[in-house]
Symmetry: D2
Subunit: 348 residues, 4 copies
């Protein structure tokens, strides 16, 4: 049985990446590809890397066009998903790559976004542990609606959650600095994103808790810790198209040794197909996971500073967005979780 | 029936790329992975992007280790393939990614390489036209031995051959300038290849006909033209890991109009799954074919200068090496030609 | 005596680079900095690399603001320079970095630009040889008005002119392929110029003679040859912020040997402080001239193809634009030609 | 009076950068350029960007060659400086860019380096504040010997010291994550530094306190705080040739408001020519200080996490190494501090 899928926002980086993955998915047939400003444009003009879709014409993004598919992927600016979702038939599986349904605290939403709070959907990060056992995967099996995580929260949360859930690191004073490729800023042409500005240079942004992924990270880590997690999060822009390297640190719980620290991460990810704790001594490299649905993680205890450092590398567009979307769809529809997902990176 | 394949030279860029493609090939099971200096090393230490092979240990490169597979891919420095090939059983399909069997002129070999001439094998560029009709594909179906093209010759030959075979451009004064990502220089650490030297800069090398791909390009174009092709070839090193952009020009045959020029390329590639003539006005972009087995081509006639300019973009490691190897294997073994090959690029 | 200089268009890449060079010029004091859309903005917000100018406020670009300076640099979009120039007092030295006064053939101007032909000013490329002897420097000493060359024409013309003027290469079938850093496309935010699109990829544009620098290159080479020069020019966009690598080829005049070829270039540039013919065997590297007013050139004869290949590297913003502007100002005002100009690159 | 200066290690990145700066220094004449493995090589082959030195031949690094200059810059691997220094006449000013004389704690030296402890020289970071008032500048005026800081310690220490000295942030739990361009790893060809590995990717190294700059950072911050500073330091490798972006965080002293935080940094750097606190809201960008002797800093208080985040951008080779060396020489010799130093960046 073939699953039909529509993609709303197919001309953006997230939407096009979903299309790339679905083209390789053995059970899915791509239906409508929609856009707003780019409706009417030939897909090959906007995404020449998707050769098999080159002659498709982008349709307008509306419920009518999207209805009639088994699955609808929403890759829209925040604030647009709820209205579309309400108009779709009940039996359509909706995978939302926007922020609209990620937060569970209305105040957080109001503080960071400028639209009405839309609610909370199951969170599309299956591997993420919760305090007291269990993972978010449990909420995704058979779900009708899924909220795909933000790209930074995926890397940061997977890096730290095992230690919080196992009680080996403290949630009170977490510090995160992450570097992202510039595709994370989307496809719109802004002066500070043109090539001459970003090549050969690094710069921070949203410093001091201003980035919209901050409350999402805090939520995930609090759920993992079973207690309020305090997080200082600084994102930086790196001169590469794709990739996130998240360097996360937290104070070790006094008396915890290095072996206990490592054991927490090992047990969390021993059976995960998409999240790999690297062998001791090998550190993540964003290039190694480029284009893949994998996250590479390493962790160590710096006894002198009393901090655990956990570092995760992912591709912000694949596992950080579109791969998580397809992985969530697989779980929602009862398919094997990694069906159609790229399990190798494109390196060098 | 599962096909077993060994890769000799699996720790280099070409060998690792073959492994990446074979991991996604539905009919192939990867057998021995061998290396010379890296024998005994864990694959995950050298190629962490190939997660499913991470715990494999590289074996030494010798005939004994390679024998017993249906297919052996050789990704070795030039001069090593003939000796290995002689020691392998007759029923092993050998796909050689080195230069050893690419040339058909012993003098050319002697001029450009410093080892004895080993002979000529069917040339693994199925889409390449020949004068008088036919393509190299004809020689590959059922072949026991295949010689995979060099990365530059693939892009350059595919760009120009249709015009030569159709008689719309002249073979006497071809000029080619090509830019390649630095993975084309292989994985060995040389001072001029370290990141600080190559990032943010471009430089030529092998200027004046000195590059070893020059005679191979000349051979291909001569076969396409049915006459001796004179080629000025200048390769340049570009600040990117992968990708070749080949800008090729030739004098138009007097009296030929733009439509006739375009028709030559259209008819050559109309039915090719891996080589695409882009719609008029759209030019190739190496990023669009990154990681794929595709070549994007565009051609135009500059009436004022009397030259046809044809430009091709490819990924030097995929279609330029490993993809061509797997595509050739498919043809040699009678599988559908594009089985297991990536038909979309990883962009942006 | 201090020379006062105003810069019109100081918020663009060319204008800001002029400001960078003038800050290091011992005889010049920077006066008005003007802009159109950015008038009223603090310079530090637009060009934080120019620390000494950070607190300057950009003024509107009009004749009133620019008048009263000894020198006015115009770094404006084409079509704007003539009107401003007419309104400035006669004793103001005007250095125009736009295209408006570069061409001497009205038809060429009309074919490539969409504004009225404004005339021709002395051409700010002092080192460029002319047929019959002499260099453009002769026209610049004491000039009131100077037209600064385009960035591609500088590299291409300096690469080829010595051979044309000396009669060792033929002007009939010149082929040029050049790669430029993305700052050459200016500072405006266009979708195809955002970082994620340009990093890690190369692409051509303006293929088939469509680039506006084509007639300027043809003019320069014709002046050098004393005969009409036919040029096929293909520019490409390279993943680097700055730098042009121009690969130029021309048919050698039959019977000319390699030593004669080299002698032509040696004699043209033996005494030039800013243009260096590298020692035999060493090829230009754009990184080596980054931020400098230097051009590195190498030339060779490929006997087999019958073509001379000459390659030039420059920084498109420095020698390719702002450095040539300051060098021309020095000549116009009777200062030592290289006063204040950076004679070393910033490498690696 | 002309000052003569020799550079030991002139073929490495640090040594060549010193040469670049000295070429623009109005009071200095460059004398001997020495190397070990590269002795006898033409400078133009190794550093073609230093055109005025192209025909110089590198001499062997020994005391005899270096003696007879007013100033000797040592840009050698650690462990080599003490022996050379002992053999030089007493009246030679020695500026050491190696680590040998940076630390004041023999145990720290022994823990991180594998050679005998050589002692401690005045620390070449004039702008760095000390607890109780004063800056390291005080120790440099008229000094005979100077130890130039490491590239990371410069950025990190300048970012944090004002808050520690003013008592607005706590020294007990400092967390630093810094990204460096690959020139920071020096010029030796190592497999993980070749272009194809580093372009388009980020990776950490020396995680968990293992980087040799860790004790130097701890020392500087302890001197600033007047108390032991605990530091978690994670360096990462970024895909750019030059530049360091250091993101530093420390817990704010309870009860301190944002204005008091900012005032601490403002008063520390108000009169510094080379260290600039950017206007509120503007964050550092490594591209803006490329090639310059400037450090750009911004600081903010994240009230929710209780942490101050201070971020510094520098060019690791200029202010991070060679610029600090020349600035220190100026102070040591009684010249105006910024003589000959580049005070603008090369951007974009």
């Amino acid at each position: 049985m073939v699953i039909t899928a529509a993609i709303a926002g197919a001309s953006g980086y997230a939407g096009a990446e979903i299309a790339r993955l679905l083209l390789a998915h053995p059970e899915v047939e791509i239906g409508a590809l929609t856009a707003s400003g780019n409706a009417g444009v030939r897909m090959g003009d906007l995404a020449p890397h998707l050769q098999p879709l080159a002659d498709r014409i982008l349709q307008p993004t509306d419920a009518q066009t999207l209805a009639g598919h088994d699955v609808v992927f929403l890759a829209l600016p925040h604030g647009h998903s709820a209205a579309i979702a309400q108009q779709l038939p009940d039996d359509v599986t909706i995978i939302d790559c926007g922020a609209d349904f990620r937060l569970d605290d209305e105040q957080d939403w109001t503080d960071y976004y400028d639209t009405p709070f839309a609610g909370t959907w199951p969170y599309g990060l299956p591997e993420l542990v919760k305090a007291g056992g269990g993972k978010h995967r449990d909420d995704l099996v058979g779900a009708r609606h899924v909220s795909v995580p933000g790209c930074y929260p995926t890397a940061v949360s997977l890096a730290l959650a095992p230690g919080l859930a196992a009680g080996v690191i403290e949630p009170q004073d977490i510090v995160v600095v992450a570097a992202s490729g510039t595709s994370g800023a989307g496809r719109s042409a802004k002066p500070h994103l043109i090539g001459a500005e970003v090549m050969g240079a690094m710069s921070p942004y949203g410093v001091g808790g201003g980035h919209r992924h901050t409350p999402e990270i805090r939520r995930n880590l609090s759920v993992a810790a079973g207690a309020y997690a305090s997080v200082s999060f600084t994102p930086t822009l790196a001169p590469m198209p794709r990739g996130i390297l998240a360097t996360t640190t937290a104070r070790v719980v006094p008396g915890t040794d290095a072996a206990t620290v490592r054991a927490a991460w090992e047990s969390a990810y021993a059976d995960e197909p998409c999240v790999h704790l690297l062998p001791e001594g090998q550190w993540p490299h964003t290039g190694s996971v480029l284009g893949s649905n994998l996250v590479h993680i390493q962790v160590t205890l710096d006894e002198r500073s009393g901090r655990v450092i956990a570092i995760a590398a992912e591709d912000n567009l694949t596992k950080g967005t579109a791969g998580a979307a397809v992985q969530s769809m697989n779980l929602a529809l009862g398919l094997p979780e990694t069906t159609g997902l790229p399990m190798t990176g494109v390196a060098p």
